[in-house]
């Protein structure tokens, strides 16, 4: 049933679609999943707005965004619970957008697990296998295999009501994986677990994914979760896919102010790029930006050309160092030519690191976080202390949007 081609078009036709770029021609280039300009409207509201995305076999992909950004709707279209209004969803080059959920080789782990309350753990896991017409002996073997995989031995006869949250999550995972789907969709898989359990489960999910080689697509609003687990992250906002990148790239080179602010903490300063002068201190190519709140900031020349003059300078808090009198003049700090003075207004001790809020002389607030590397910290600053904040041009990002 799962590989029935009746309603989808064969790969060759999908590739021969007019107006498609040449690289798609070779079968080897077809990604496992191609989401092509998909649109979904609810009433007048565009929940998903022309999203295009390729996901490769074996990838751990995270769709990240605030609630209502359309990530769940996109996932539900992959599962078949919603049909796209426009666009195509190609699995191995075959359009599956019109297939019903039970006709797709894709399984989903639901947010609140959606375990069948009247069935035992074993019967929950066997449910999909029975529907696939697997013989009883095959089902028994596969169920035992899945139970071992998620470490639920001894709980086979329990009903979902008799399981803890973590155990339910495992049953849901085993049930969704039992049919060996091409793609496993996970809707907020860890949202219902407490913090400690969430961290260990993250690691288990990653190990499981690597072992099975199944493509995982996880929807989450939790950026830490996405950063920890995913090979690549797609950030969504208001139905649009804003950026697709590896976790590190997303954090260090966000495509817009919104993403910079959504993924982690950021200091943003609006400013204008000054015309280039004959490089005075020129060691590396850099831009000079005059900001209202932070004065003149020197920024490393971005790799892509900057087209606008009104831009934002973005600096992550952990890139900003504080000291009483500015950086110690040594070779390491030679690049730290951006210096701002202000008064500490807030100190947040978080164990591994401490966050500071520094009110600059311009009135703007700068956030800095510094690792607590020594047990008895001589570099701790207290409220209303005057400090110098400094950072290098390489620490700064130029954001145009």
């Amino acid at each position: 049933m799962t590989d029935e081609p009746a309603k989808s078009e064969p790969p060759s036709e999908a590739v021969a679609e007019p107006g498609k770029a040449a690289p798609e021609a070779g079968a080897a280039d077809i990604p496992l999943l191609r989401i092509d300009a998909v649109v979904k409207q609810f009433g007048g509201f565009r929940a998903v707005d022309r999203v295009s995305l390729d996901i490769g076999a074996g990838e751990f992909f995270a769709l990240l965004g605030p609630s209502g950004c359309g990530k769940t709707t996109l996932l539900r279209m992959l599962a078949g619970f919603e049909t796209p209004d426009e666009g195509r969803i190609l699995l191995d080059g075959w359009d599956i957008a019109a297939l019903l959920p039970h006709e797709r080789p894709v399984n989903m782990m639901f947010q609140n697990y959606a375990l069948f309350p009247h069935l035992s753990v074993r019967d929950n896991i066997a449910f999909g296998l029975k529907r696939a017409g697997m013989p009883a002996s095959g089902i028994a073997t596969r169920v035992a295999e899945m139970i071992a995989l998620v470490k639920l031995e001894g709980l086979e006869q329990r009903k979902p009501d008799q399981l803890s949250g973590g155990q339910k999550q495992r049953v849901a995972l085993a049930r969704a994986l039992a049919r060996r789907p091409r793609i496993l969709l996970l809707d907020e898989p860890l949202a219902a677990l407490d913090k400690k359990l969430r961290e260990s489960t993250q690691a288990e999910l990653m190990a499981l994914q690597r072992r099975l080689g199944t493509t995982f697509i996880v929807v989450t609003h939790d950026q830490d979760e996405a950063m920890t687990m995913a090979d690549r992250i797609g950030v969504m906002d208001s139905g649009r896919l804003e950026q697709v990148a590896k976790p590190r790239e997303l954090y260090e080179a966000p495509a817009s102010r919104w993403i910079a602010g959504f993924v982690g903490d950021i200091n943003l300063f609006e400013g204008q790029i000054e015309p280039r002068e004959s490089s005075r201190l020129a060691m590396a190519p850099r831009l000079t930006i005059t900001t209202r709140d932070a004065g003149t900031v020197y920024v490393a020349e971005p790799r892509h050309p900057v087209t606008r003059t009104n831009v934002s300078v973005a600096i992550r808090p952990e890139k900003i160092k504080l000291s009483r009198h500015g950086p110690v003049p040594n070779e390491e700090n030679a690049q730290a030519i951006n210096r701002l003075e202000g008064v500490v207004t807030d100190v947040g001790y978080l164990g591994g690191f401490t966050t500071y809020k520094v009110k600059l002389d311009s009135g703007a607030v700068l956030r800095s976080s510094m690792a607590n590397t020594a047990r008895i910290d001589v570099d701790a600053y207290s409220r209303s202390q005057r400090v110098v904040a400094w950072f290098t041009p390489d620490d700064c990002l130029v954001l145009e949007q």
């Binding site: 078949g80 959920p101 989903m108 639901f110 609140n112 959606a114 449910f127 999909g128 008799q162 049919r179």
Partner: protein
């Protein structure tokens, strides 16, 4: 355990209220009925003997106790009239409940799947008939079912029948009346269980390869069984003792136990036999209820 803590202190007396209610409005009247059922009929006021009179002293009360007997119950077992009445009541209640389930389930299912704003309206439509008196509605059915009534007119106009069909005073009319009257009691508990079912369960079934029909029989129906049980009991029990509908719509050749009871009480003026009929009916009703309760309790304990 937390339930116990809720009823600590003065609030604990709140828990007495239902027991008081039961004692006052069920146990005490039932005691009277039980006593009358053990008495003998007499041409007197009240029409039975013995009568307990607390003013006549201990010896008289002792004599009155001695005069009580199980004769009326022996009569119920020995006379076919009563056994047949009980059997007919059982059959009518069972058949009606089955028909109600077959009609009520699809209706409740459709209601639970309506958009939320329409569900309230559908619920109103189910309840609206209660705004008219039950008797008037049954009399309206007499009008519809009579020789030149609405039903026959429609059947004739559509050329489904060539002669008017005799509806009134048949079992068909009685079943129409019962099903019509009790349908809300079947729909509402079914709707309540179906509406609160998590739609994600149905999606999960579909995701795991179940077709819509399989999803219904493997997930929806098993999970709606508590509603089926509640609806069936809510209909079966009052139908078993139903008097008005069979009296007005069914023929007089076979009686339901409610009609037999009425006859004994008002026509024969035999209060003791009528009381015995009522007591046996109650026992017949309590037995399946107790069984159902025990099954549910066992399920709850198994789930723990």
């Amino acid at each position: 355990m937390s339930a116990r803590r809720i009823f600590a202190g003065p609030a604990r007396f709140a828990a007495i209220a239902p027991w008081l209610w039961m004692a006052l409005f069920f146990l005490v009247p039932f005691g009277f009925v039980l006593k009358i059922s053990l008495s003998q009929t007499a041409v007197a006021q009240p029409p039975y003997l013995p009568v307990f009179d607390l003013t006549e002293g201990f010896a008289a009360i002792k004599a009155a106790f001695a005069a009580l007997s199980l004769d009326n119950y022996r009569l119920l077992v020995s006379d076919n009239l009563y056994v047949l009445s009980y059997l007919r009541s059982m059959v009518v209640a069972a058949v009606s409940t089955t028909i109600l389930l077959l009609i009520g389930y699809p209706v409740a299912y459709a209601m639970a799947r309506l958009p939320l704003k329409w569900q309230g309206i559908a619920m109103m439509l189910v309840i609206v008939p209660f705004w008219t008196s039950f008797l008037i509605r049954i009399y309206a059915w007499i009008n519809i079912l009579q020789h030149d009534g609405l039903l026959n007119q429609i059947l004739l106009a559509l050329h489904i029948v060539s002669m008017p069909v005799v509806w009134l005073s048949t079992d068909s009319a009685m079943y129409i009346g019962i099903v019509y009257s009790y349908l809300p009691f079947m729909i509402l508990p079914l709707y309540a269980t179906l509406a609160k079912m998590d739609p994600a369960l149905l999606e999960a079934a579909g995701d795991l390869g179940a077709s819509p029909q399989q999803t219904f029989w493997l997930v929806t129906f098993p999970l709606s069984l508590p509603g089926v049980g509640a609806g069936a009991l809510l209909c079966f029990i009052p139908i078993l003792g139903e008097f008005v509908i069979p009296d007005l719509l069914a023929g007089s050749d076979s009686l339901m136990i409610g009609q037999t009871l009425w006859l004994e009480f008002f026509t024969n003026k035999d209060w003791p036999v009528a009381a015995a009929v009522a007591v046996v009916l109650l026992v017949l009703l309590v037995a399946p209820l107790a069984l159902y309760d025990r099954l549910q309790r066992r399920q709850l304990e198994a789930a723990r």
